[in-house]
Amino acid sequence: MNRQRVSGWLLDVYAAPDNGVSVWLTDEQGVTHHFHDEITPYFFVAGSDSQLRAVCEWLAKSPYPVKLERAKRHEVFERREIVVLRVQLGRANDYACVVRRVSETFPALRYYHADLTVPQFYFFEKNLFAFARCEAQVDGAGRILEIESRDSLEGLNYALPPLRTMTLEMQGEKENPQNPAHGYRAPFVVGYEGHEYVLTETSPRWMLQSLRAHLVRCDPDVILSDYGDSYILPYLSSLAREHGVALPLNRDSRMRVRSRRAQSRFSYGRMMFQPESHWLFGRLHVDRRAAILFDDYAWHGAVEMARISRRAFQHSARSTIGGAVSALENAIAFQTGCLIPWRKEEAEDFQSPADLIRTDRGGLTYQPIAGLHFGVDLLDFKAMFPAIIAAYNIGGETVNCSCCPDSWVPELKLRICKKRRGIVPQASELIVKRRFGYKKLMQEAESKELWEIYHARDAASKWCGVAIFGFAAHTSAKFGLVTAHSAVCAYAREFILRAKEKAEARGFRVLHIITDCLFLTKPQTTNEELAQLAQEIQAATGLPIALEDRYKWTAFLASRVDPRRSVPNTYFAAARRGGIKVRGIAARRHDTPAWIANVQRELIETLANGSTRAEIAALLPQVMQIVTRELDRLRAGHVPLHLLTIACSISKLPGEYKVNSLNAAVARQLDAHGITLHPGERIRYVVMNNEAETDRDRAAPWALMGEGQDGYDVTFYEERFLRAVETVLAPLGITAKMLRDGVAKMLPMPVMQKQITAQATTYFGPLFAGQR
């Protein structure tokens, strides 16, 4: 038999149509190899002897080839080995179907390892992961005889294969893409090797053949699209079927493009929308608009996420961060020989009312002292929550164990196991190590490109760290429990209080605390003193804390509703090393028009040139100049429409709105155009006349705006603009009335415009001005 060794990176793994798995490797020359390997997934069933016998009898009569055996495995919540029935499938493709049918027939039993995917089994069994450097020995028929990883999951400075990437998007402004699923139409643009090709759709058949030629010529490993999941791929697939053109979107010609339906879900108090997804086989497709957090950590972060979670890349890119954390925990449980529960059945322990009051608390947030403060320093615990989980071994199965009677959680009647390492703490440790490792690599990076790569990978690890804590109390967190979540919060409260006490003992004034960071101020403080304070806190808590930044000044904002109250995590600051930091204000909100966000940033950047009260006072005329300049642009109609678009998520179906909000008006218009909207979906629009009675006149959906449509509601945008300016000026003691009086004096509205924007019933034009 003709054997050969192939070295490369693992590009794609999926269940093959016949049996086993298809494995795609990319070698150092960028050549892609397609191999076949065998995998036999299995799952476990737990129950009484008679129940398990009944399952065996049922499976023996079923058409599925299975191998049954009695096994003993560790059950994490029972903290002991239990007897289970191991059901090994003869065909990989039967896995999901057999699990479903058995669980439907025997719903009272407990199932383990029952919701893994075939690629996950392959990765776990062969100790591989997405983009792992590996070496395979294959026979002449392309069957893998042996495959070994030459890569380590702990590795940070890993290389990636030379990938051929093709972009697929719709023509338009790149920074301002419009959603084709909401009616926007433009020619497709294909890009690769530094060139872009516009595919005009004068003849669909010709366009498809042209795209086909590009796909064959480029043979991309990765297709990066904008709205590819929600529109481009389903549209092209359907058009190709209609015109009988074989479009080689998949490299594996045996497979059809796999799609998953769009779904809306309620999460963290708001409606979220995941558009339908389209997976390719043999090459990877990522929709930059739909992939989770792709705008934050981009390609390198997405790769890091796939590696951490040990899932196929396309699966990882479309999953939530909670899903990634869950997959990582599954991988650790698999490696350590623990059973992976299918559905969490662990209930919260009973607590007395007094215990519940003590337990049911989150981290500590101190209301800021509103106003402008000079010389503010920010100390921040690094990855506080994952670090606590890892350091104190807090997981669902380690809380309230019977073997460690003396390891109490601060303030709470909870104990933590010291003898057996939990699965969640192991996952946390991996994430924390990666975060600190990337921070170090970023400091040592020799080029900006390298720094950006590490930064993107660090961002992915950071999100995993955020989710691993929050996810611990989620109903679908298999290894988490609410009590474990409460234990982490108790440690976090204790440590932030110790940090506060250390700071106050050194004469610092605490301005604001947000769970894991402290805003402190002390006149004439030095870097050395702050470093000493950080060391003291680190010694008192055992957690790494660092000086995040030093600010010339920081403005903490008061509530608009009640100026006596301050609002947590809402501030802007001018850093000593240059630049600004903003949180919670219009410039950071997703629904703020870009024009307003840009001006607000510009105003803060202008004020950031001042370091003292007198210097800031001297900058006020400059601030007013910006305000009047921009207001003048707005009133003159010179602000580009795309900078005035408002992007909002709709919370319900268009027909379900009872309040006639702008969102409702736009959703109804899109619905009338035959566009299917889902709760949680994001819509963009321009407000035309907020006071108008008809939806069409009130606001225009951005995707449907035609050539002839222009104009916007000056009053509406002016009001929002002035509010954004007020936010910046309020901490300086300049009230809304003072601002508006100043604007009215400096930039009086022309009489005609005043009449247009007045709340009048009819405007008769300039000829009749003053005669109404």
Binding site: R358, Y366, Q367, G470, L497, R565, P621, M746
Partner: protein
């Protein structure tokens, strides 16, 4: 993830709703005084949360007392009244509200007799200046202090809150009366700039 109980901030909002007849008082000064007292509680919500006490009303009252004491301290520093020290003859207003404030404090303290641990955790989570104010209030309401009437614990919730609103109103009056030209912020600069346009 989902919480079973209301957070401290939501508990304070609930308190405001429960006592909204104060928020709708006929006199504007009373309404503003009550709003300011609630702002004291909001500002110290972290300490209330950290105390984890089932005595939410008393904890909120305690934050209000600390807020009032801090404001009274400020007035004392400005020489407007004497709060901690013995009032001199002819000194404005101090005798009017210091005993009342201490009576409320004593009542709260007596209600929280069984909540020593909660009181300690509450105090620990306060900012240093607030801790000092609380320490002073506790010192002034020792059981042997002549200012505290014996029946303080029997005072009704409404009476306690009414007393605090009155003290707040008086402090605000004093502040307004002695308000100098040193208004905070850059309002003067702004006005000068606008005047020059």
């Amino acid at each position: 993830m989902g919480r079973t109980l209301l957070t401290a901030t939501l508990q304070i909002h609930k308190f405001e709703r429960d006592w909204q007849r104060f928020a709708r008082a006929p006199r504007k000064t009373d309404r503003e005084a009550f709003a300011e007292l609630c702002a004291f509680a909001h500002f110290r919500a972290a300490a209330i949360a950290h105390a984890a006490s089932p005595y939410m009303f008393e904890m909120i009252l305690l934050t209000m007392l600390i807020g009032l004491a801090r404001r009274a301290e400020t007035l004392e520093q400005q020489g407007i009244l004497q709060f901690y020290t013995e009032p001199e003859a002819g000194m404005d207003s101090a005798p009017l509200f210091q005993p009342t404030l201490l009576t409320v404090m004593a009542a709260v303290r007596q209600r929280l007799t069984g909540q020593k641990h909660e009181l300690y955790t509450f105090a620990r989570a306060l900012r240093r200046q607030d801790q000092q104010a609380l320490r002073a209030l506790l010192a002034l309401t020792q059981s042997d202090n002549a200012l505290v009437p014996g029946s303080a614990s029997a005072l009704a919730d409404e009476m306690l809150l009414t007393s605090l609103v009155r003290i707040m109103r008086r402090i605000r009056q004093l502040e307004k009366q002695y308000e100098g030209s040193s208004a905070e912020g850059l309002a003067n600069e702004w006005s000068a700039m606008c005047a020059g346009i």
